[in-house]
């Protein structure tokens, strides 16, 4: 019985070694098509991760740049407002009383409506101050 218990050890070692060598062998020679495809995808994913990191940093930086650009354009503290270039008249916009968002909460439909007052000029922009109202079922 003791003998049979000790038999496990070399068998397990052989199995593990066989498994490891077949894996490394497969990797070294790029083995099966599946293995090759997995290697290619893993390499592509590493590239994608690096690219995402760079783009996230770019987006993070843009946060400050946008705030500065808004200040420079004179567009500050706009609570619920429609803004269009003063030079270009956009017909029908902003349309007072129009639904600007539709959504569902717990299966019930809601909508958000914006009502605008007469526009004022702010630098090169036309700002229409609005009142945003959420209407439920």
């Amino acid at each position: 019985m003791n003998m049979s218990r000790w038999c496990w050890l070399p068998v397990l070692a052989l199995c593990a070694a066989g498994c490891a060598s077949s894996r490394s062998g497969a990797r070294a020679s790029s083995g099966s098509a599946t293995e090759r495809r997995a290697n290619e995808l893993e390499a592509r994913n590493a590239e994608l991760r690096a690219e995402l990191e760079r783009k996230r940093a770019e987006l993070q930086q843009s946060y400050q740049v946008m705030a500065q650009a808004e200040s420079a354009a004179g567009l500050n503290n706009l609570a619920c407002a429609g803004v269009a270039p003063a030079s270009a008249q956009v017909p029908g916009l902003p349309q007072s009383g129009a639904v600007h968002a539709r959504f569902q909460l717990r299966g019930q439909p809601y909508s958000m409506t914006a009502t605008f007052s007469a526009p004022r000029k702010a630098g090169e922009w036309r700002v229409s101050q609005g009142t945003c109202r959420v209407v439920g079922p």
């Binding site: 997995a38 893993e42 996230r56 946060y63």
Partner: protein, 234 residues
């Protein structure tokens, strides 16, 4: 001897399976990663395009052409949320074994941050909350404390990621970063509440269809330190 052969067979099968599926499992996992990474990249590309279009438009309004933007401040979003509240939901939304209701009473402290992410605070309260599962005697006092803690109120700090989805929809993915019971604070109960919020109540993103009745479609969305800006192309 029979036991030994049987054991060997099991070990062999297990190791064989491990060796045989490793490449397929790696490929499956890499494919899944690739899908998620590609999706995230598309979202980031869209966000970066919106940022550069917005910044260029601000610097030279002539280039903005016939576009039109809606600006929302953190205070405006709080006001709109207040119009939806209080909102009641069955407590079983949090956990199947809970009876009663959860009332969302207030959304406050909305702050806009980088990476199209905003943070806010939600205040909730349990109304007639009862735990319906079987509770060993030793834990019954804890459950009573939890029930009265939830009745006194819960503060949840939320992180909300905004992105433009398909079909002119603004997607808001919310995640509770912290929950705090106003009474009977306990890290275990608060952790359970946070998990229930994230895994059940906030599992799916909130979707806002931004199509205008005139047919105007949102061309982009940016979140700056001061505003949530949705730009429409008529």
């Amino acid at each position: 001897m029979r036991a030994l052969s049987l054991g060997l067979l099991v070990v062999w099968a297990a190791l064989g399976a491990g060796c045989g599926t490793s490449a397929a499992a790696r490929l499956r996992s890499a494919e899944q990663d690739n899908r998620l990474l590609t999706e995230e990249q598309q979202q980031l590309d869209k966000a970066l395009q919106s940022v550069s279009r917005y910044t260029e438009g601000l610097r030279s309004p002539g280039k903005a052409g016939r576009s039109f933007s809606m600006y929302y401040s953190p205070a405006a979003l709080e006001q709109m949320a207040a119009q939806l509240l209080p909102m009641r939901m069955p407590a079983r939304t949090f956990d199947q074994r809970l009876l009663g209701e959860v009332v969302i009473e207030r959304i406050s402290d909305v702050r806009f941050g980088p990476l199209n992410t905003l943070t806010c605070r939600a205040e909730l309260r349990g109304d007639n909350i009862r735990y319906n599962g079987s509770v060993p005697k030793a834990y019954q006092a804890e459950v009573r404390k939890f029930q009265s803690g939830v009745a006194a109120g819960v503060v949840a700090d939320l992180v909300v990621e905004l992105s433009m989805g398909s079909d002119n929809a603004l997607m808001a993915r919310a995640h509770a970063s912290r929950t705090k019971l106003k009474a009977h604070s306990s890290s275990q109960s608060e952790g359970m509440l946070r998990n229930a919020l994230n895994e059940r109540v906030l599992r799916l993103p909130f979707t806002f269809d931004l199509t205008l009745p005139s047919g105007g479609a949102p061309r982009g969305m940016v979140l700056t330190a001061n505003h949530l800006v949705v730009t429409y192309a008529p």
